[in-house]
Assembly symmetry: C2
Homo-oligomer: 513 residues x 2
């Protein structure tokens, strides 16, 4: 047994059984060891941003980490943006980053760089396993770190000689810290403050937006407390049978307008809401002036238990409001728009579907009718780094092979990690990928006005418009092995989406809007 075997067997012993990989020479021992450790499923991604985003999607669905396999500093760098998103989703991930042999590091070979520095910003733990005997213990530490609430990505640097040298160490088992519930005193204090407030709200996020969290939050709503959810949530049930909290608006001044008169904000599984971006003369903190704030449970605590205790303390009913099942009656007609596509999606989305949402300005059109669609879950873009929608779908589909995965993407976003389609085809994943093609970074046209930069002139427009040349999405998808169809009308989209939901396997839809 060599260090690579020790690593994989330890990962497997800790239920890390999927590896999203793009290896290079320094990772060859790990690759070879996969044949001796078949419980680990290797999934090849043609770009590391796909691998890390897939690990994010997998971790969100499983509640335990997949591993990535990345090639030194540049490989991690290629995966960095989706690890940023994973950091904001608090997703457990174990990154295995191959490195030069320990004795070779001193020579500053071409692929050498400061991996620890590059990984530091988005990792909750970084360590190098500098001998084969150290590998198993460090691997268990990495798993434990990734699962330590509020969870995150742990980065294990694996020098090539630590992988190829022999070791006799046994797989180590990771400690798995559990979330602690807030104290009774905290719950009582929050309950008292809520009763005393004229217009309180509870803002939930993270674990508080899980199925069980939503049930408890719904009880608060039934007791008369307005519940909001964070704008972007890592994983949240939606549709019939789920409680639908209001969502914090994306633009700060709209959020504050909606919250006008609120005198208390209570946070569960999240923290004080802030604007996604700053703008001249607009607010950064989205707490109404003069309103008090209280934390019921921070991101590392057991927000579900806290919400349940709070609901009990308030004498809330055992059950709160949930969404009805109400599908759009008629198939939409006319030129396609996100709104019309949303009607078809709501009509045909099957129960248990997983929607990976990187649709930017097209998302609202889908979200509204989906509120009363069949029960499903949504994985949102938590960190704002576009290019997550397709990789998340890869990971969610590997994690949940019996559930339909629908990936919603802006065209600008989809181009970031278009390589995902190849992995979807290769693994025959049950993913329907939709790209809303409006041939522009539409959000940036809006943001340009908001930042006070004015209307785009001819030079600025060159950096905002995608239509010259127009991307042929069907050609791209077919080139990567995924059957594809282009829909310019609501009728075409309705037919294509219904067909995709009625079958299994990869499908791509270009929604021309």
């Amino acid at each position: 047994m060599n260090g690579a075997d020790a690593l994989i067997s330890t990962l497997v012993a800790n239920e890390v059984t999927a590896c999203f990989a793009n290896p290079g020479t320094s990772e060859m021992q790990f690759v070879a060891a996969l044949d001796r450790n078949p419980q680990m499923r290797p999934v090849l991604c043609l770009f590391e941003g796909v691998a890390t985003g897939a690990a994010d999607g997998y971790g969100r669905m499983m509640g335990r980490p997949a591993c990535t396999l990345l090639h030194l500093g540049p490989g991690y760098g290629n995966g960095l943006a989706n690890l940023h998103n994973a950091r904001r989703a608090f997703t457990p991930i174990v990154n295995v980053i191959g490195d030069h042999a320990t004795y070779h590091r001193q020579y500053d070979a071409p692929l050498a760089s400061d991996i620890a520095a590059i990984a530091s910003a988005n990792s909750i733990w970084v360590k190098s396993a500098d001998s084969p005997d150290a590998v198993a213990g460090v691997a268990a530490e990495a798993v434990a770190a990734s699962l330590t609430p509020p969870c995150g990505s742990a980065s294990l640097i694996l020098p090539a000689d630590s992988a190829w040298l022999e070791t006799t160490t046994e797989p180590a088992i990771a400690q798995r810290p559990v979330r602690s519930a807030p104290s009774g005193a905290t719950v009582e204090a929050v309950a008292r403050a809520l009763k005393a407030a004229a217009k309180p709200v509870v803002l939930i996020g993270g674990q508080a937006c899980s199925a069980e969290g939503l049930k408890q939050a719904a009880r608060l709503q039934a007791a008369g407390v307005q519940v909001y959810a964070d704008t972007f949530v890592a994983r949240q049930p939606r549709g019939a049978g789920a409680f639908a909290p209001r969502r914090m608006q994306y633009f700060g001044e709209m959020a504050l307008a909606e919250l006008e008169g609120v005198d208390l904000m209570v946070f569960a599984g999240t923290t004080q809401p802030v604007a996604f971006f700053a703008y001249p003369n607009r607010p950064s903190v989205l707490v109404p002036e003069g309103a008090g704030t209280l934390s019921l449970a921070d991101r590392a605590e057991d927000a579900v238990a806290a919400l349940a205790a709070l609901a009990d303390a308030l004498g809330a009913p055992r059950e709160g409001p949930v969404q009805p099942l109400k599908l759009p009656d008629a198939a939409p007609t006319g030129p396609l728009s996100p709104q019309l596509a949303g009607l078809s999606i709501a009509r045909h989305l099957p129960e248990g579907a997983i929607v990976c949402d990187d649709s930017v300005t097209s998302g609202g059109g889908v979200a509204v009718p989906a509120m009363t669609a069949r029960p499903h879950e949504v994985l949102a873009l938590t960190g704002g780094a576009i290019g997550a929608g397709l990789p998340l779908a890869v990971g969610a589909a590997v994690a949940c092979p019996d559930r339909k995965v629908v990936s919603l993407n802006g065209d600008g976003a989809a181009m970031y990690t278009i390589q995902s389609l190849w992995t979807i085809a290769r693994e025959s994943l049950d993913v329907t990928a939709i790209v809303f093609a409006n041939n522009t970074y539409r959000i940036l046209n809006i943001e340009m006005m908001r930042t006070g930069a004015g209307q785009a002139g001819p030079q600025a427009a060159k950096l905002l418009e995608l239509g010259d040349p127009a991307i042929d999405w069907v050609s791209l998808a077919k080139g990567l092995g995924v059957p594809a169809v282009r829909c310019a009308t609501a009728e075409e989209f309705e037919a294509a989406f219904a067909a995709a939901m009625a079958q299994r396997g990869p499908m791509f839809i270009e929604a021309v809007i």
Copy 2:
């Protein structure tokens, strides 16, 4: 005038006139300011790895920096791997990294991260311009840093409020440090050692591989000193009229076998050669045992002047050997291979062409016949992070619009930054992009054996093979707006490549090998 204007006008005043960009909200002021500063050419890239690789290609050809425009930490992350390559090429680049407004940073908004940490590993200079009045000065510092020998990428963090607030500062002009020549004593010592050595070699790299550097190195060769060049050189003339030094072999044991008996290695514009990767029981340092080493000129010094002085000191002739013009007589025939493609490339490559080489295992087939092709230049993959060949071509074509650019890519490598094709189409760049499609990471099959990991079994093979599904490269290229043709025979490739060289504008060739 706001801070964004101050930035662009300072960059322009310092001859930074091309911007490879993928902006987001925090960069909207910069984007808007482009309309007021039309001397800056904005080039949209659909992924930041394209932008940074293009800046590398531009900087290698121009000897002065382009700027990139990147969206916070994740945007820099997406561009990190090609900035790693640029670091190993010592290319001047100014990265403009948008950040949250200074007062917004404290709130840890979703896109916030430690940009300085992420950028540190591949930047020679990182600074944030934390007020609008600071922007011009910091921008000039960034240009100066990027041009300080041996040159590199400087990272300027631009908070949104520093961009949108007014300022009256004038553009600042950067100091441009020049390379200093080694002392006469150093040159004399090296000359004495060369005369005393039984079998000396001179290894050149970096600036020593420029056109003028090669001329001086050829004089050493004429004086009886064997000259070698680094395996991967940022920019090097090749073909008729150029001196062709031997190249350090990629695999260490082969390099050492070739250097057997060498008792002195002299370095000019480079340092001690080391193996690209470590392998069990193989050498890391590629200096023969017992051989002495001397530095004639380090990477920051004027290696050209040093080589000239050394040649004079050795009494070398005024001119050394150069390659003859010798084109393959006959068009190749039969099933296509890199070797046969190389014959066609050598036959039709026009004078002054720029070859951007990320062709990995297919590269040797092209390099051999190109040694006597019409005079051209080669930009190599200096840092080992695949995915540079297409972006380098974007930048080289923007820098040198009157020269034909040929981009050679392995299929695994090309998938990394396939978005480049769209920018080639949008800007109507005179680039012929070739992908050698062997449906595998062939280098990794070789490396697996060398690392002692053995033959790939079924699990390992899943991470090495690209053929399932086979990528339809013509479909991909057309989807991104580039005319494309698939060649499975040497006859087809000969016709396609000859036609591409005879016309201007974007062309894509899938070379099935």
